[in-house]
Amino acid sequence: MRGPFGKALELLFTGDREVWFIAWTSLRISLSSSIIASVPGIALGVLVALRRFRGRRVVLAVLNALMSLPTVVVGLIVYSFISRSGPLGGLGILFTPAAIVVGQAVLGLPVVVSMTASSLSRLDPLFSEALTTLGARPGSILWMSVREARGPVLSSCLAAFGRVVGEVGVAMMLGGNIRGYTRTLTTAIALETSKGDFVLGLALGIILLAVALGVNGVLHSVVRHE
């Protein structure tokens, strides 16, 4: 009785090239989109946390709402922009890995912004005043605040990665699950499951878990110097 664990190990260690390539595609695409979401996400999160502006509550509410959007819906929205019959169709990125990166960045951005904002609002409000009085400009204040809240900010990036590496709606809609090109672990799982091969689906799921754990582990060890 070969279970999903056994199948997963078999796929990985008999060097099934297709599975390795699919895992690599998932990793590459989700890492890229997480990074692309994190850079503006952290900056926006700091701004939302530290500056008082009208409509701040509205922004926070919208962010929370975005995070509960089904991934398929986000996929549909981005699709309507990058479809050949859409305004950005000329870019021709639909059904390429780049399209998935864009869609997943849209998924990850509110996660990073909202979590960064909440962790930074726990900083002493006078912290930015202390920096200002020493002559710091807004850019330096942003950087120093992020440094102070380094742990929670990293967690927010990892949370974004977690959201995108395991999602299937955007990857399917914008990537098309093209074999050897845009097939990711999640779209492959969806495919095998719809074909009825549940064991293979679970095995791929275990591999996906291993990938996610691996990324978490690596990042935590790199930023361990507290």
């Binding site: 990793l27 990074i35 019959s85 059904f95 390429t96 699950n177 090109y181 845009t182 074909k195 790199v222």
Partner: protein
């Protein structure tokens, strides 16, 4: 030092996201992909022309929509009415018949509704409805679903009730569900053949009625509507699948010794 390595890895990961080869986007149905034909059919074409075929497998309805939006370059689907409308509306050009397989009625080995003895597909469906035997439907815009609806229509019935379950999933999942529920379902022969070993308790209950014919058409997306569509590559693909060699590949494709598709293109006279 660790940071440099990490940064370099990250850059290498992000960069190779664009391709240089010509990529032809083919929209087709999940059941076609599930049959396993496409890698076999496309490989010689890719080798010959250097064009990479990106297969995007969705339901027939979605495949047509992708064509309407111009997001793919060529369609390979099996819904004549929808195909004709696609061409008539000006979205597709140069439609050719490619091949056909057939739909079969599969069901529980003991055939509680006695569908095997029916004289036609419509009659078989009528027997199932009368017996209120469990029936799983694709319930989506797929070619299989369209055919199923056509058969119900021919029998003059509108299926409804707890015995009739609309799954909203692909053929493989629907077959698995039918196996679990000991239900009847309409399937394309190809998917059935590739899965039947895993589906104990189900057997082919009814087949052979020409009404259950499942013809495939290949259509290029209209370059006038979408100048960016890869028309030349699409025409090369159409040429391949309707060529003597391509049709031979189709005929020779089999699962477990059984031929799945019957080529149609070569039989047409100009």
């Amino acid at each position: 030092m660790k940071r440099l390595i990490a940064a370099a890895l990250l850059l290498w990961a992000i960069l190779p996201l664009s391709a240089q080869t010509v990529r032809l986007r083919l929209a087709t149905t999940t059941s076609t992909q599930d049959s396993g034909l496409l890698p076999v059919l496309n490989a010689p074409f890719e080798k010959m022309t250097g064009i990479t075929v990106d297969v995007i497998a969705v339901g027939t309805g979605a495949a047509i929509t992708l064509g309407v939006k111009g997001d793919v370059d060529v369609l390979l689907v099996h819904d004549r009415k929808a195909e004709d409308k696609f061409v008539a509306d000006g979205y597709g050009v140069n439609r050719r018949d490619v091949m056909h397989n057939d739909f079969i009625l599969v069901g529980p080995a003991d055939d509680p509704a006695g569908a095997a003895s029916a004289g036609s597909a419509g009659a078989a469906f009528a027997k199932i409805a009368a017996a209120r035997a469990a029936f799983v439907s694709r319930g989506d815009a797929s070619g299989t679903y369209v055919k199923e609806m056509d058969v119900w229509g021919k029998a003059g019935l509108k299926p409804a009730g707890t015995w009739y379950k609309e799954a909203g999933q692909g053929m493989g999942a629907v077959l698995t569900m039918s196996g679990d529920l000991r239900a009847y379902t309409l399937s394309d022969r190809a998917t059935w053949l590739s899965m039947k070993d895993k589906l104990s308790g189900l057997k082919v209950v009814f087949e052979g009625d020409p009404f259950l014919f499942n013809p495939y058409g290949v259509i290029a997306v209209n370059p006038q509507k979408y100048p960016k569509a890869k028309y030349m590559a699409a025409m090369q693909y159409i040429a391949w699948v309707t060529s003597v060699e391509g049709q031979k590949v189709i005929r020779e494709y089999s699962i477990g010794g059984q031929q799945l598709f019957t080529p149609d293109a070569i039989n047409q006279t100009p």
